[in-house]
Symmetry: C2
DNA sequence: TTGAAAGCGGTACCAC
DNA sequence: GTGGTACCGCTTTCAA
C-alpha cells in the first residue's frame, strides 16, 4: 500500500536556495517574492517563476531562520490549562488563544510539571517568546522574570491570586467566590456554614482560597456565625457518609466548592432525609446548566474571567508598548445566582 | 514603584559571544560548557568562569539558532482541543502532552480556525515540527501531508474517523458510541429510538457519526425498529417543548448524545409526567459522575481514548523510526454501563 | 585544552 | 529589477 514518504538522508528539505536555483534567480529575489515585498519591484514573469518553483518543491520558509534573522519572534507562551482548573478558566484560555492567533501570534503551550520556577523560566526563555503568561501555581520569582525579560520578552504576565514584583498580573482571587457564597448564606439567616474541600490534589489550589474567603466574609460580617471545612472526595460513598453524620455537625448551610460537588452532596443529603433548603441550604459555584436541572434548583456563584479589554488585545498592547508600569487586572467576577436551594 | 525592566534599543539579549567575552574564552568553549560536552576536556576553572559569566548575564541559549544549526527540532504540534470535544478527548490530550514533555519534546498547540487544510499544513511546516497530530475536522489532504513530510516531519498523524492516505491515523470512530447505545436499547426490547442531536455547531462533528452508528446498529440487528433524530439545543425551554410533544413521537427509548443532554432531557420528561424508564428508556454517554447521582440512575456509554502503547511513546517510536507503513490505531473504546434509566 | 571559522536558512542593504 | 553578500546565534570540525 501507500508508503509513508521517507526522508532519505540525502534528500533534505527544500530551502530558498533550491527555489532560487530552480527558478533561475537569486535567493534575494525568492525572499522578495515570498514576502510580497513592496519596496522592490519584481517583474510579473519572475514572480510567477518563483511561485511555481516554490510550489513544485513544496517550499515553506523556515520559521526559526526567519526569527533568528529578525531578532524577535511572535511567540506567546501560555500555560497548559488542566481540566481541574475549572470551566471558566478553560473558557478564558480558549478565548485568549483564539484572540492571539487572530492577531498573528504563535501560541505555544508550556507545561511546568516537574520544573522549579527558575528552571521553567529558563526553559521558556530559550524560545525567546515575545510574551509569557505564567501560571500562579509555580511561584515565578523576580529572578525568573528578569531572565525572561532579558531574553527579550516584552510582556511577562503572572496569573494567580498574588502579583509578582516586576511582572504584569492577571489577578484571579478565588477568595471572592467563597466570600460571595457566604455573604449570600448569611443574608439568608444561616449561621453555621460548612465549606466543602475537595480531596483531589489539583483542586486544593482553588479550594483553599475559597475557604479563606468564606472565613473572612464571616469575620467581616460581624455576625455570630462560623465556618467549618468539610473534606470530601468526589465519590458517592464518602458523600453518603458525610450525609449520615450531617445532623451531628449542626450545620444549616453549605458552600459545596462547585456545582458538581453540590450535586453530589445534595443528592446524599436528600437520600439521608435532610431537606434542602429547609434544614440545610446548599450553594455551588460555576453556575452550570446542571444546577438548573436539579430539584430544588441549585443556587450558585457564577464566575467569569474577564478583563475590560479582551485579554489578547491587552497582551498585544503590552507587547507593542513595553516598559510601562506593571499593570494589575482583576480577572474574576463573582455573583450569586440565587435559586431554590438556599 | 518597581519599573518593568525596559529593553533599551542598545542593550540586547546576551549571546554566547557576550558570555565568552566576559569569561575571557571563545564562543566554542562557552558552547562546550553549556552543553556539558564530554568529547572535549575543559578545565574546571574555565568551566566555573563560563558558568558564572552566563549566570551574571542571565544568558539562555537561543532555541531557534540551535535547531537551525542542528537541522531538526523536537517540536510536536498538537491541535488545541476545544472544550466541546468532550472530556475523554481532553483527558487524552492532557496525557499526551504530559508524556511528550516527559520525553523532552516541545509541545506546541496550533489552532486551525479560519485556515483551510493546505494553508494550515504550510503554517505548521514553517515550524519544522518533528511530528504533527492533525485534527480530523480540518480535512488534511495528501498534499498537506506531503508538505509536512517534505518539511522534515518524521510522523504525521491524523486524528479522526477516517484515515488519510500517507499519514498515520488515530481512529476515533464515534459511530461506535451510537452503535453501543442502540444495541443496548434493542436488547432491552425497545424498538422506537430517538437520538438527540445537539444544535451547538461544534458538537455536530461528534453527533453526526453517533447518529450514523445508531442507524447502522438498527439495520445490522435486523429488528423491526427505527431511529429518529431529535435536534435539541442545550437549554431548558427547548427540552420542555420536546417533552411536551414526546408522546406524539411514539418513542420508547432515547440515546441522548451524552450524559449532560441526557440529564436535560430526562428532567424535562419527568416534569412532563413521562416515566423513565417505564415509558421511555434514556441512555447518555461519557459515564460522568452526574449520571450516578440522577434518579433513576442514568445508563451511559462509557468511552475511553486509549492506545495499547501510551500515545506519547507511540509518537516517539514513529519519530525515531520513520518511513514505515502508515499505522492505524483504533483509539475509542465504548462500553455500556447499564443503570436504572434503561 | 582552547580558538578560528564554516555554515544552518532567511532577510535586507547596497551595487549593478 | 535583480544579484551579491553580510549577518542573526549556535554548534562542531579542524588546527594550534
Amino acid at each position: 500500500m501507500s508508503q509513508l514518504p521517507e526522508q532519505p538522508a540525502g534528500i533534505s528539505v527544500p530551502t530558498s536556495a533550491d527555489v532560487a536555483r530552480l527558478a533561475g534567480v537569486s535567493r534575494a529575489t525568492v525572499s522578495y517574492v515570498m514576502n510580497n515585498n513592496t519596496t522592490v519591484r519584481i517583474t510579473d514573469p519572475t514572480r510567477r517563476r518563483v511561485r511555481e518553483a516554490a510550489a513544485d518543491l513544496g517550499y515553506v520558509p523556515h520559521a526559526a531562520a526567519r526569527s533568528l534573522r529578525a531578532g524577535h519572534t511572535r511567540t506567546v507562551l501560555l500555560p497548559s490549562v488542566h481540566a481541574s482548573a475549572g470551566l471558566p478558566c478553560q473558557r478564558f484560555f480558549t478565548g485568549l488563544e483564539c484572540g492571539l492567533r487572530h492577531l498573528d501570534y504563535t501560541v505555544v503551550h508550556y507545561g511546568s510539571v516537574g520544573l522549579d520556577a527558575d528552571a521553567a523560566a529558563m526553559a521558556w526563555a530559550e524560545l525567546r517568546p515575545v510574551a509569557v503568561v505564567a501560571p500562579g501555581g509555580l511561584g515565578l520569582t523576580p529572578y525568573g522574570i528578569d531572565v525572561l525579560t532579558r531574553s527579550g520578552a516584552k510582556a511577562v504576565i503572572t496569573l494567580g491570586p498574588q502579583p509578582v514584583d516586576g511582572a504584569h498580573a492577571l489577578l484571579m482571587d478565588q477568595s471572592e467566590v467563597g466570600g460571595c457564597a457566604v455573604r449570600h448564606l448569611l443574608s439568608r439567616g444561616r449561621r453555621s456554614i460548612g465549606v466543602v474541600m475537595p480531596r483531589e490534589p489539583g483542586l486544593a489550589q482553588l479550594a483553599e482560597p475559597r475557604l479563606a474567603g468564606a472565613v473572612r466574609a464571616v469575620e467581616d460580617s460581624g455576625a455570630d456565625a462560623h465556618v467549618q471545612a468539610l473534606p470530601l472526595p468526589y465519590e458517592e460513598r464518602p458523600a453518603d457518609d458525610l450525609a449520615a453524620r450531617w445532623r451531628s455537625l449542626g450545620l444549616d448551610a453549605v458552600f459545596a466548592y462547585n456545582d458538581e460537588y453540590a450535586m453530589l452532596l445534595m443528592r446524599a443529603l436528600q437520600d439521608a432525609g435532610i431537606d434542602v433548603p429547609t434544614e440545610t441550604a446548599v450553594i455551588g459555584a460555576d453556575d452550570l446548566m446542571l444546577g438548573r436541572l436539579l430539584r430544588p434548583r441549585l443556587s450558585s456563584v457564577a464566575t467569569e474571567l474577564a478583563t475590560t479589554q479582551p485579554p489578547a488585545q491587552m497582551i498585544d498592547r503590552l507587547v507593542r508598548n513595553p516598559g510601562g508600569e506593571p499593570e494589575h487586572h482583576r480577572l474574576l467576577r463573582a455573583a450569586v445566582v440565587a435559586r431554590e436551594s438556599s
